[in-house]
């Protein structure tokens, strides 16, 4: 009765091992297919959600930072909602970067042999091995940058995971069997406290999503229905923004009390005073 979060440098391996682990344990699957449901629920394009998960914001590509954070927040809230149901294997939805501090979540990193991946890419696209290696290296750099911008984390840091498995010698099926065994350990059983932590994350994500629909620069923390929102505003807009946040956040189910912390937006204020 736990949750498993799988992250990999190779999307195909991620899906294969995630699916196989879910099959062995009889758990639910939470993969990129969820984006379709999220898109329908929030009335956004599925392609935009997928793009937000892969690339950083760019005005040129029609993905401004405000929208980008909103899309990521929608995904986060929906993933957390489903993870709260337990018995789930989740992959390709960046959950390893925001499901933090949940003791019943087994976090696994899968590493693939970069040489094998380059060879496969070269064969698939009819390009040279060197070109394939360059493409993979670029993708890796972009991914590191994406993780840093989106969640301020380095997903290659082994400290983020309970287990790291290298597929260089270990077969994907064996990796799935190992993960399935690990999740049976007592420490990964959900407890009242760990469930509560997950519920707190979920509520914070729901409030953030509601607020990011119309605002930006929003950080939310929650504890037992008590929500703390931190944002930036000009001095003169402080009261107006506080009221708006309280109203919006208060309308989310499960929120009992909203506390708003406004940091002065000194850069905007300085820019306005120079006008």
């Amino acid at each position: 009765m736990s949750i498993i979060i799988i992250s990999a440098d190779d999307r195909a391996a991620e899906g294969q091992i995630g699916g196989r682990t879910a099959e062995i344990l009889g758990y639910g699957r939470l993969g990129p297919e969820l984006l379709q449901e999220i898109a329908a629920k929030y009335g956004v394009e599925e392609g935009k959600l997928a793009e937000a998960l892969e690339r950083e914001p760019s005005l040129l590509r029609g993905m401004p930072p405000k929208k980008w954070y909103y899309y990521l927040s929608c995904i986060e809230a929906e993933v957390l909602e489903r993870l709260a149901a337990d018995k789930m294997v989740c992959w390709s939805l960046a959950a390893h970067l925001y499901v933090l501090g949940i003791s019943h979540a087994l976090r696994v990193r899968i590493i693939s042999d970069i040489e094998q991946r380059a060879a496969a890419l070269a064969e698939e696209n009819g390009i040279s091995l060197q070109r394939a290696q360059k493409i993979l290296a670029k993708q890796q750099r972009q991914r590191v940058q994406w993780c840093q911008t989106a969640y301020g984390q380095d997903e290659t840091d082994p400290a983020l995971y309970d287990l790291v498995i290298n597929l260089g010698q270990i077969d994907p099926d064996e990796a799935a069997a190992t993960i399935a065994k690990a999740v049976g350990y007592r420490k990964f059983e959900p407890m009242t406290y760990s469930r509560k932590c997950l519920a707190n994350l979920l509520l914070a994500a729901k409030v953030k999503t509601r607020l990011l629909e119309t605002m930006s620069d929003i950080h939310v923390q929650s504890r037992d229905g008590r929500v703390v929102v931190t944002t930036k505003a000009l001095k003169r807009d402080k009261q107006k923004k506080t009221l708006a946040i309280k109203e919006l956040a208060g309308s989310v189910e499960g929120v009992d009390f909203v506390e708003v912390h406004i940091n002065n937006d000194i850069f905007s204020e300085a820019a306005q005073s120079l006008r």
Binding site: P158, D162, L163, Q169, I170, E174, T178, Y185
Partner: protein
């Protein structure tokens, strides 16, 4: 049947894991004793080998290449144990790098969270948390520098290992179960080809250990008892290499042929 290397830092619980894995699988446990063997065989004080495997090379070491020699001695002793025993658990620094070239090696890294490590160091040395943290960070830095200087890699890079287990939610006993189970996988079972490779690897390491003091950058490969030596261009000019090589190889069993390949690229499995 597998060779398992367990890499760890100070107070990562790697030693406890290695001991229990060896006990559970009935494998010999190798760690510091490999230094003793190297010390006896190559007549080098053990303390120099301990420093060679722990401290990052200083400027003088880089000039004299002494550290390379000591590492080559340790590697030769470890490779010989691996070839003779066929199965063992090695724990200590850089086992996964010392045995690069062997196929059936399960490379494991054991990590733990900093708080737990600090608590252990505080208890052992009877010091405050701040001091304990400083000691551990310094030790980690030293190990990182050592591995970077000698092998050009960062020991915390997960891609160097087959399995990285974090002792936190996973206990020592559970980590042991894991490692034993993974070691039982087909890919880590020794075949006759693997055994031959282990014997070749041990021979290459022995030849390198015998030559490294005079030719620090020499590379050695061995395939089915045929030894190929790859000296650097300017080193190869010295005619004494051939003479020394003949001496060395005549003293070692299992070598059928010896060749010197000047100015050609050594293969990946050359030591």
């Amino acid at each position: 049947m597998a060779i398992i290397t367990i890499s760890r830092g100070s107070y990562y619980m790697g030693k406890a894991v290695a001991e229990k894995v060896a006990e559970k699988l009935g494998y010999p446990l190798v760690s510091r004793d490999v230094l003793l063997e190297a010390s006896e065989r190559f007549r080098v004080p053990e303390i120099k080998l301990v420093r060679a495997i722990h401290d990052a090379p200083g400027i003088l070491d880089r000039l004299s290449h002494s550290k390379q020699s000591y590492i080559a001695y340790i590697r030769a002793a470890l490779a010989e144990r691996a070839a003779a025993e066929g199965k063992l658990v090695y724990h200590g620094l850089a086992g996964h790098l010392l045995l690069t070239g062997l196929e059936q090696v399960l490379k494991v890294r054991v990590t733990a969270d900093m708080q737990r490590r600090v608590a252990q160091e505080m208890e052992r040395s009877n010091i405050g948390a701040q001091k304990a943290r400083e000691i551990l960070l310094k030790d980690d830095l030293q190990r990182r520098r050592w591995t970077k200087a000698l092998y050009g890699v960062d020991p915390s890079d997960s891609s160097l290992y087959d399995l990285v287990v974090r002792i936190d939610k996973i206990t020592v006993d559970q980590a042991v179960d894991f490692i034993c189970e993974v070691a039982g996988n087909a890919c880590f079972q020794a075949t006759e080809k693997c055994r031959q490779k282990a014997r070749d690897f041990a021979l290459a390491c022995r030849v390198k250990a015998a030559l490294v003091e005079e030719w620090p950058n020499i590379r050695v490969a061995c395939h089915y008892g045929n030894v190929i030596v790859y000296p650097k261009e300017r080193e190869a000019k010295a005619g004494k290499l051939r003479k020394r090589l003949d001496q060395v190889c005549s003293a070692l069993e299992g070598i059928h042929n010896v060749e010197i390949h000047r100015a050609s690229q050594p293969p990946e499995d050359a030591v």
